[in-house]
């Protein structure tokens, strides 16, 4: 049978395809645009180290935000306890590094990297376990009751924050970077902190890994579909509940790992670390669009860069600038830069 005109791919459809692609690339370019704009007011060598700092901070925030965003997009649960996973991740990492001082002080690159990997793995494991416990004990009883679930996870965050001084004392805890990751190297005229480079590489690996899993695997497909329309995924015969638990635990583990990296970045951690960073992760999720991993990545880069550029130009406005950024994007694109849910 001949397909009538209404079934041909009309110009309207092609335009729609291109609009989707443009939105995608537009979001990618925003951090670049920001960087270029900053270059006009900041001298080059300062700009370079600020940019590296911003990107490093950004990818670490991304690692912490990614899990939260997916959980939010998938099950509409805003898990404040996520901040607790971050805090505990940082403290566990600090403790592990302190114990492994033999390896971290050594001049051996392999030992250094192993120590780094070990503290990251420990942080991720502890946070993952805490995540599983939180999902089973705290969140499951109040599924669907959004109000109660926010309240309860806020309670968990507060309790966790209060438990930190009980276990680790009330003073800020220093985090010792392994010898290899200390100090800076010189690239041309610019001094670049070694750790920041490592952080950027690690962050890119995590991002790449997540994108690959989401795009290439069946479970990634389920997650992406579930973020858009959970009910339909169940109607197709998949137990999205099991997928959700997996995402929740993975997200919590990532939070712990991010906490460890954040601790290494700032070299000093306090009990309120998690709740402070939680605000940044919320900003990232709102800007990037809930449930969208790429959105979170570019939003995190924006937030990291903004914090560093503004921190240099007008230190008092640093936090405010990120909030202003979030409000601006909310006004322009209420659903975020690259929203995943398109219902």
């Amino acid at each position: 049978m001949n397909a009538p005109a209404s079934l041909q791919p009309g110009t309207a459809s092609l335009l729609a395809v291109w609009r989707v692609r443009a939105a995608h690339y537009g979001a990618h370019l925003l951090p670049v645009a920001l960087g270029l704009a900053a270059l006009t007011v900041i001298p080059f060598s300062t700009w370079a180290s600020l940019t590296i700092a911003g990107v490093a901070m950004g990818v670490i925030i991304f690692i912490m935000a990614a899990g939260l965003g997916l959980v939010f997009g998938l099950m509409n649960i805003l898990n404040f306890a996520h901040g607790a996973f971050i805090t505990f991740g940082a403290y566990v990492a600090a403790a592990v590094l302190a114990r492994m001082s033999g390896w971290t002080q050594a001049d051996d690159a392999v030992l250094n990297l192993l120590a780094f990997a070990a503290c990251g793995a420990a942080a991720a494991t502890v946070a993952g376990v805490l995540g599983y416990a939180t999902e089973r004990i705290i969140i499951r009883p109040v599924y669907g009751a959004h109000l109660k679930q926010i309240l309860v996870t806020v309670g968990v965050l507060i309790v966790a924050e209060q438990l930190v001084p009980v276990f680790w004392g009330g003073v800020p805890v220093p985090v010792t970077r392994p010898a290899l990751l200390r100090g800076s190297i010189l690239i041309g005229q610019v001094a670049v902190e070694r750790y920041r480079l490592v952080a950027i590489v690690t962050g890119l690996l995590v991002y790449g890994g997540m994108v690959a899993v989401l795009a290439r695997t069946r479970i990634g497909l389920l997650i992406r579909a579930g973020v858009q329309n959970r009910e339909m995924v169940e109607a197709l015969g998949y137990r999205i509940q099991a997928v959700f638990i997996l995402v929740f635990v993975a997200g919590s583990a990532l939070a712990g790992f991010g906490g460890a990296m954040w601790g290494l970045y700032h070299e000093l951690i306090t009990a309120s670390l998690g709740s402070e960073v939680l605000v940044l992760t919320f900003i990232v999720i709102i800007i990037g669009g809930p449930g969208s991993t790429s959105g979170a990545f570019y939003a995190a880069l924006l937030v990291g860069l903004t914090a560093n550029y503004v921190g240099f130009l007008a230190p008092k406005l640093a936090l405010g600038s990120n909030i202003a950024l979030m409000l601006a994007i909310l006004m322009w694109r209420p659903t975020g830069l690259l929203p995943a849910s398109r219902n």
Binding site: F72, N76, L78, I138, P141, V142, H146, L147, K148, I150, L151, V152, V154, G155, V156, I158, V159, E161, Q162, L163, P165, V166, G170, S275, E276, L278, V279, F282, I283, I285, I286, K316, L319, G320, I323, M326, L327, L330, M331, P334, T335
Partner: protein
């Protein structure tokens, strides 16, 4: 039955729903009204004033949480607007009524405007965005208050004088054996303000506007279909709540003669409010009265108990650290979680069920 009609009128028809509750509320009101006359020392009166202020703060938060279903973390920001507005004016312009009214007024109006902005911006997307943005805004203002130290006194806050009748120097003689000082007058100003504001809230939730809110809470799709813009209604409630919180801030500024980030903006105050509401009962304004009373009394006397417990368990450092009064928030948090699970309707809910 004339008495009942009068009572109904005062309470704008908001049912108490339980005989026990009615007596308890009456007891609390009488206790607060007569506080200066039987409470020994200034600590007791301070606790009573704290109860009055928190009643306003918590009840206004209930308008958001209980009547509209919105979780806001910025309530303390609006509280802070009122407190700092009044404080800065009193400090810069001297201790007179003009300064107080101007400063307090600016604080209240700014709170309302900020609440409107946040509401309109976030509620058209998702309610949860509202919560996230309020958290961000709260963090922002906490930092700002410390940073703008020239204006706000920074981390340490600022002290100032209050208008003449409330100043410590006033002495209006003695009554029933208690000297009527400026402090006592200030207390009654706070008490009366709390009563009026609370009754005003009762009127608000029982007004036609309040009934639409009820409909929205039950089924917002249907309300929208009937032509009520849910976003606008929710934003308006947010503004009303913000204005009331700011008013509570002005009350605090006058009572304490001091304003600082820890006193008004900190997250532990936010948690206090949440806990008071959850314990008292969400969705019924009377819960605010109960919750405020229970928690303030608890805080005043339990912290001493905790110090005692901590000292006596020195032999087991972990336990000692756990019960140390510095960990007050830990137990508050645990209590809070338990209440959300086990007593989601709070004390009021339990009493009403009987």
């Amino acid at each position: 039955m004339g008495l009942r009609r009068i009572l109904d009128g005062i309470l704008s028809g908001e049912k108490i729903g339980s005989r026990v509750l009615a007596w308890v509320l009456l007891a609390v009101v009488i206790a607060l009204a007569a506080a200066p006359f039987y409470v020994p020392g200034s600590r007791g009166l301070a606790a009573a004033a704290r109860v009055c202020i928190f009643i306003v703060l918590v009840a206004s938060y209930d308008l958001l949480l209980g009547y509209t279903g919105l979780v806001s973390f910025a309530h303390t920001v609006f509280y802070g607007f009122g407190a700092y507005g009044a404080a800065v004016a009193l400090k810069q312009m001297g201790p007179d009524w003009g300064a107080l009214i101007l400063g307090g007024g600016i604080g209240i109006v700014s709170a309302v405007i900020l609440a409107l902005a946040i509401g309109l911006l976030t509620l058209r997307v998702r309610n949860i965005f509202f919560s996230m943005v309020t958290l961000a805004v709260a963090s922002l203002f906490l930092v700002l208050a410390s940073q703008l130290s020239d204006l706000t006194g920074g981390e340490d806050g600022m002290t100032y004088q209050v208008p003449p009748p409330f100043g410590p120097a006033t002495r209006l003689g003695t009554w029933l054996g208690v000297p009527i000082t400026g402090t006592v007058l200030a207390y009654y100003a706070v008490f009366v303000a709390a009563v009026l504001l609370f009754l005003g809230m009762l009127r608000f939730v029982n007004s036609p506007f309040g009934r639409v809110l009820q409909a929205i809470r039950e089924n917002d799709f249907r309300a929208e279909a009937l032509g009520y813009s849910v976003v606008v209604y929710r934003s308006v409630v947010s503004c009303v709540a913000a204005g009331l919180a700011a008013s509570a801030g002005v009350m605090t500024a006058v009572w304490l003669r001091y304003t600082g980030p820890n006193a008004v903006l900190s997250f532990s105050i936010m948690l206090d409010v949440l806990l008071m509401l959850v314990i008292g009962g969400i969705g019924s304004l009377y819960g605010a009265i109960l919750g405020a009373t229970v928690l303030v009394l608890g805080q005043a006397y339990l912290q001493d108990l905790m110090q005692l417990a901590s000292d006596s368990t020195q032999a087991w450092p972990l336990i000692s650290a756990l019960v140390h009064p510095d960990r007050w928030l830990l137990w508050l948090g645990i209590f809070f979680i338990l209440f959300v699970y086990v007593f989601p309707t709070g004390i009021v809910g339990r009493l009403r069920r009987k």
